[in-house]
Amino acid sequence: MDRIPILKVGEFLLVSVQVDMHDRLAMTLQDDLTARIVVDGARGVLIDISSLDVVDSFIGRMLGNIAAMSRVLDAQTVVVGMRPAVAITLVELGVALRGIQTALNVDSGMALLRKRVDAAAPSAGS
């Protein structure tokens, strides 16, 4: 598999990472998602990493990049399903995932996205 599928669900994009991504695959996902936010006019991105048993600094950086890029493109990002062992390891590694919204599962992630998008809806018009 040389691409992670991106599903459009209403105004959100949904990604479930089901494979141990090599670095190029992670970069491709980052590029694809950024492009799709613009093409689909998406307001939010939900990334499910519940299948990942390892998140190293490279994948952590990719998640941070996606969150930062989507913010610039007026979309919210939520990362869901991080396994406890992965969370413990990431913190010890020094990757705090600052600026990334997380939720325990897809349901609460979708609810969080909805809330954030609604809160941001009356555009400040700056």
Binding site: D53, V54, S57, R61, E92, G94
Partner: protein, 134 residues
């Protein structure tokens, strides 16, 4: 003393880093590591494999499963013949990076394991050994 003969895996491509993670996971499970300990060791291996590939231009990982004082462990040695690291103390500091990374690879990997040894000389390549014990 090793319970298994050393295994050598190439670290020459992105796909090799994925294979390193998978094989290290297998030996950590075989050594009876807890899930958190497996995850720490696999993550450290991933960081060091990427370091060998990106900074060292590729190399090898040697994998051994020693038993000392009745404790089982996993020992990994990453070797490359790249430019080496001029200032090891600096390279271990968080935030130090020569590439596009976060600069957490070496220092971060060190925090995830019980033993960490680095031998690097400019022009001679780098050798990093890590070990974790059950």
């Amino acid at each position: 003393m090793n319970t298994l003969a050393d295994t050598v895996l190439p670290v020459r491509s992105d796909e090799d880093i994925v294979r390193v993670r998978q094989r290290v996971r297998e030996v950590c499970i075989a050594a009876g590591f807890s899930l958190v300990d497996q995850t720490k060791m696999v993550t450290a291996a991933s960081e060091l494999a990427r370091n060998a590939l990106q900074h060292g231009g590729g190399g090898d990982m040697h994998m051994a499963t020693p038993v000392e004082n009745g404790r089982r462990g996993v020992r990994l040695t990453f070797m490359d013949e790249g430019p080496g690291i001029a200032d090891v103390a600096q390279a271990l500091r968080d935030g130090y990076t020569t590439g596009s990374g976060l600069g957490l690879g070496l220092g971060g990997a060190k925090r995830l394991v019980n033993e960490f040894a680095i031998d690097s000389r400019p022009g001679k390549g780098t050798r990093i050994m890590i070990a974790r014990w059950k």
